[in-house]
Symmetry: C2
Subunit: 255 residues, 2 copies
């Protein structure tokens, strides 16, 4: 097998003879590297992405090389190149995988009050941030060498999913007007800013405490918006009907 | 004069003979281009930056070329290269200039209640966003071709200035603890998210209305944080002592 560099995105060239198992360029490699073994094409691709994600999670992207990925995967450099044209392509594949995983965590659990349900989603969000701390920070802080219009689009898509899921969770069936959109997008930016602050300040605040703070912020931000927007007022009424904790919070503020 | 490309950042090579006036590469250029005239070095540099800022304000960075800047400035391309090694360097100089201008707008006016003073700063912020709409959006949305670690650092410095100024405005003399820092950084991210949403949604909300919404958000976010943090509680008490509008807002929420 030669190291072919694909010019289009993900699908690697089909393995020539066996169709499901890799044929290493040099059979000796298989014995030289202890972790090296043949893997079906799709499985190898997923393994390389998983290994890359792990490296990008705790090291800045500029400090991760394809050699590092190959070594951590127990694979040869040419083999990694067979799947990805270069580091940028591998980074984007890893980011896409992380974005899917994160978006999957936005599913609201069936039980609990609306704020309890939102709290469960935030717990999963902060678990993700803790697992991918360096990668999350590098990407959202901006200015990283691996950032492109494509990585920006992947991050924006996660934000759009978060917006849609939050609106659905709030029972918004019709199109969200400008003020309700502003409110939810702003709160999502508070979630991101607080995750970055949490990382920057050495995780001084407990994640559970941060989560409760974000829920409080959600309730009061919604209440302050409801005064000027009928659609948000409807959302607030529906929320308070089902959520005694949110009612208590607003009462405390008014005292 | 030859087109020398500086290797270090801004200072242009001193003009050889006259020291304060440019000598165009080709004297004919001076008559060919109607706007072309000799300018002292510092003045020319500032003019090129001002022209670039204007172009970057309303066009994505990838659609602005050095030729466009030269043409709009009534200068030759070699002359632009004498001051800036390339588009990236000119972009960063323009961004630095914009960042200074924006930071200058954070000065709080001497009169008014704390929220009125904050409102005046926000008015100036949204004027800046309106003036630099495309550039502001391209930079803060991320993924632009001109983004580097240096541009990221310039944006972060503006946020740090905003954080310091806001804390000083709130009368915080000692170091801000993690929760007060979290609050102010989060609110600054709400300002940015609302400016981006405002641009994305075709400026459907009036800037004055957006400003009032942001002030309300500031008050309720502070109040919700004060319940769990003595330092923020002190800030809130001082704010409410001087601000009847903020008191009225919290009373309305509690009803």
């Amino acid at each position: 097998m030669t190291a072919t560099i694909p010019t289009t995105d993900p699908a690697p060239a089909p393995a020539p003879a066996t169709a499901t198992a890799e044929v290493p360029a040099d059979p000796a490699t298989a014995t030289r590297r202890p972790g090296y073994r043949r893997l079906p094409v799709q499985q190898r691709r997923e393994q390389l992405i998983a290994v890359a994600l792990e490296l990008f999670a705790s090291r800045p992207p500029e400090e991760v090389s394809l050699d590092d990925v190959a070594e951590a995967a127990g694979a040869s450099r040419p083999l990694v190149y067979r799947y990805f044209a270069g580091k940028q392509q591998l980074y984007e594949a890893a980011l896409r995988s992380a974005a899917e995983e994160l978006s999957g965590r936005f599913t609201v659990p069936p039980d609990g009050t609306p704020t309890e349900q939102l709290a469960a989603v935030l717990d999963r969000y902060f678990e993700f941030v803790a697992e991918h701390h360096t990668g999350y920070g590098a990407l959202l802080r901006g200015g990283s060498v691996v950032e492109t219009a494509r990585t920006g689009a992947i991050v924006d898509e996660v934000r759009r999913v978060a917006l849609r899921r939050t609106l659905r969770h709030l029972g918004v069936r019709e199109a969200a007007g400008p003020r309700l959109t502003l409110l939810v997008r702003s709160w999502i930016s508070v979630v991101e800013a607080s995750a970055l602050t949490w990382l920057d300040e050495g995780r001084q605040i407990e994640p559970e405490s941060l989560r409760d703070w974000l829920i409080d912020q959600f309730v009061v931000m919604t209440a302050a918006t409801a005064a000027h927007d009928p659609q948000t007022a409807g959302v607030l009424t529906a929320l308070l009907d089902r959520d005694p904790q949110a009612v208590a919070l607003l009462h405390r503020l008014g005292r």
